[in-house]
Amino acid sequence: MTQNNREPLVEIKNLTVEFKGKGRVPFRAVDDVSFNIYKGETFGLVGETGSGKTTIGRAIVRINPTASGEILFRGQKINGVVPKELDREVTRKIQMIFQDPMASLNERAKVDYIVSEGLYNIKGFTDEQDRQAKVSKALLDVGLLPEFASRFPHEFSGGQRQRIGIARALIMEPEFIIADEPISSLDVSIRAQVLNLLMSLQKTKGLTYLFISHDLSVVRFIADRIGVIYKGRLVELAETEELFEHPFHPYTRALLSAIPIPDPRIEKKKKVLVYDPTCHDYSTDKPKWVEIRKDHFVLANDKEIRQYQAMAG
């Protein structure tokens, strides 16, 4: 499938997000980032702590205000000042799943309230009976029992709590879900269950995901396309296997080389590449966003483009 005949659900154009710190100059967490997320796909965003991957997610759900650039959802601009009608629609259609199910659930509220809080906000139910029916359905969808609604979060294990977090997002009947490190704080065996749940929900409900993670082996398994972000800038973007087979940017190469592989024969003689940001000479020759191979984009200047093209053969 080429990108041209796919329908973009979310378009991010020259997005910049800044935080005002102590100094005069605001800190630029996201710097001129552009990419599209197509309907029905899972877009993986990877990068190290502090790279700005979470900030992009939060900018899309409009928790973080944007400094410049545009975020379009189904062709409509959703950042900055937004008409009330659209605002309500976006609040419902874009949902987020958070990293730590221990911290992201209100300890004092029952599951019933936690799951339906979003509905209260947008008055998304006709009567009490309708609300309860929706809660039961959302819990069943994530593999929990409707009876759990009357319990408190502390009564659940980490995996179950993450399911509650997913139910809370699903009840809004979203089209687009931002999953921010949804399995990082879970145990290995539970990870597989939650990943499987996310995949089957995508199939049955036609969801589109932005999957934010620093764990490349998980992203490789779940994502259709991957964007690599370093210090607020998108440095490479390609379809998953394409990226793993032909990484161009030195940061991507370093990141891929560091993934642990469950095979002692490889791990024992592994050479980890270290990324040195000073290897780019951008003083006169400025980098731009270019397509090196089909649907494979890299941030590079003219000299690097020639180098990468030679690598691509």
Partner: protein
């Protein structure tokens, strides 16, 4: 074979929680050989942290060693009761690196002082001499401009650098055994690789014995000579790293390896272990993994399996290895593991 440096036999550890007794370690035995790197793997709650904490007397106040022995340098650590006894071992002979470098360091004291404290306490160093050694250690763990860093506080360090400081404290006294409890879980992959390399270099220099506690099998493949798999407070299988990855025998080891996302096939559900780990408040009959094991035998729910020998270095606690047991093949993913990376392994 060489003499073990530490030898644990039939260790039982219990905790008293809200008036109930929880058995966290249910008869675990392990030999640790000098100079080796052993990885202990298992899910959270399997007891891997508690198990190693008994070697340095760091169980929480509501926990105790109920029976069994921990032999180290001719002493039985399981019999230790007083803090003064532990001070001759903890930090000095057996040291530990904790998972979260943010909580392991004191935020109110400079990094230099925290390392120096270990030297003054255990190495009998004082003043300028201790300071000079501290700066030396800081540079050994890869911290630039150690003279300046010495005077800084933990919040002025990044996560990876903080973990280097924690490692510096642990290695300050040249311990014979270094226990690393999930040392890289809180770190980025690129930093993780650097920390693993650092620990390996230090081990080579000090000649210490390393114990890694982790749930990340990729890390295990990287660091370990031998692997012990823990489940519900028991060591259920151990062997060399090659034996555990390419010839695992216990159904739980199969399940653990199969649920790795690296082994998943895109678009198909990943293998996941059904059910939940057993409740350790109750007495467990037979094989603790049996309720989650699709191939469980009748005897699994009646009698706890003993260790069966697979090779001189490889043992597993499963009735499947009994000569009378039916032949059960490991799942396809396990057999694929070896060939999966074949082309990269050359």
């Amino acid at each position: 074979m060489t003499e073990p440096i530490l030898s644990v036999r039939d260790l039982v550890v219990k905790f008293s929680l809200r008036g109930q007794i929880l058995t966290a370690i249910r008869g675990a035995s392990l030999d640790l050989y000098p100079g080796e790197t052993l990885a202990i793997v298992g899910e959270s709650g399997s007891g891997k942290s508690v198990f190693t904490k008994t070697w340095i007397g760091m169980l929480d106040a509501n926990g105790w060693v109920d029976s069994g022995s921990i032999l180290f340098e001719g002493k039985d650590l399981a019999k230790f009761t007083r803090e003064r006894e532990w001070l001759t071992i903890r930090g000095k002979k057996i040291a530990m690196v904790f998972q979260d470098p943010m909580t392991a360091l004191n935020p109110l004291r400079t990094v230099g002082m925290q390392i120096q404290e270990a030297l003054e306490l255990h190495q009998d160093m004082r003043g300028e001499q201790a300071k000079a050694r501290t700066i030396e250690i800081l540079s050994e763990v890869g911290i630039d401009i150690p003279e300046v860093r010495y005077h800084q506080y933990p919040h002025e360090f990044s996560g990876g650098m903080r973990q280097r400081v924690v490692i510096a404290i642990a290695v300050a006294c040249n311990p014979r055994i270094l226990i690393c409890d999930e040392p890289t879980t809180a770190l980025d992959v690129t930093i993780q690789a650097q920390i693993l390399e650092l620990i390996r270099d230090l081990q080579r220099k000090m000649g210490a014995t390393l114990v890694y506690i982790t749930h990340d099998l990729g890390v295990v493949a990287n660091v370990a000579d031998r692997v012990a798999v823990m489940y519900a407070g028991e060591i259920i299988e151990y062997g060399t790293v090659d034996e555990i990855f390419f010839d695992p025998r216990h159904p739980y080891t199969w399940a653990l390896l199969s649920s790795l996302p690296q082994l998943g096939i895109k678009g198909q559900p990943l293998y996941s272990i059904a059910g939940t780990p057993p409740n350790l408040f109750t007495d467990i009959q037979g094989d603790a993994f049996a309720p989650r094991n699709p191939n469980a035998l009748k005897i699994d729910s009646v009698r706890r399996p003993p260790f069966f020998q697979v090779s001189p270095t490889h043992y597993a606690k499963t009735w499947l290895l009994d000569p009378r047991a039916p032949k059960v093949e490991p799942p396809e993913t396990i057999r694929a593991l070896r060939s999966k990376y074949e082309r990269y392994a050359q």
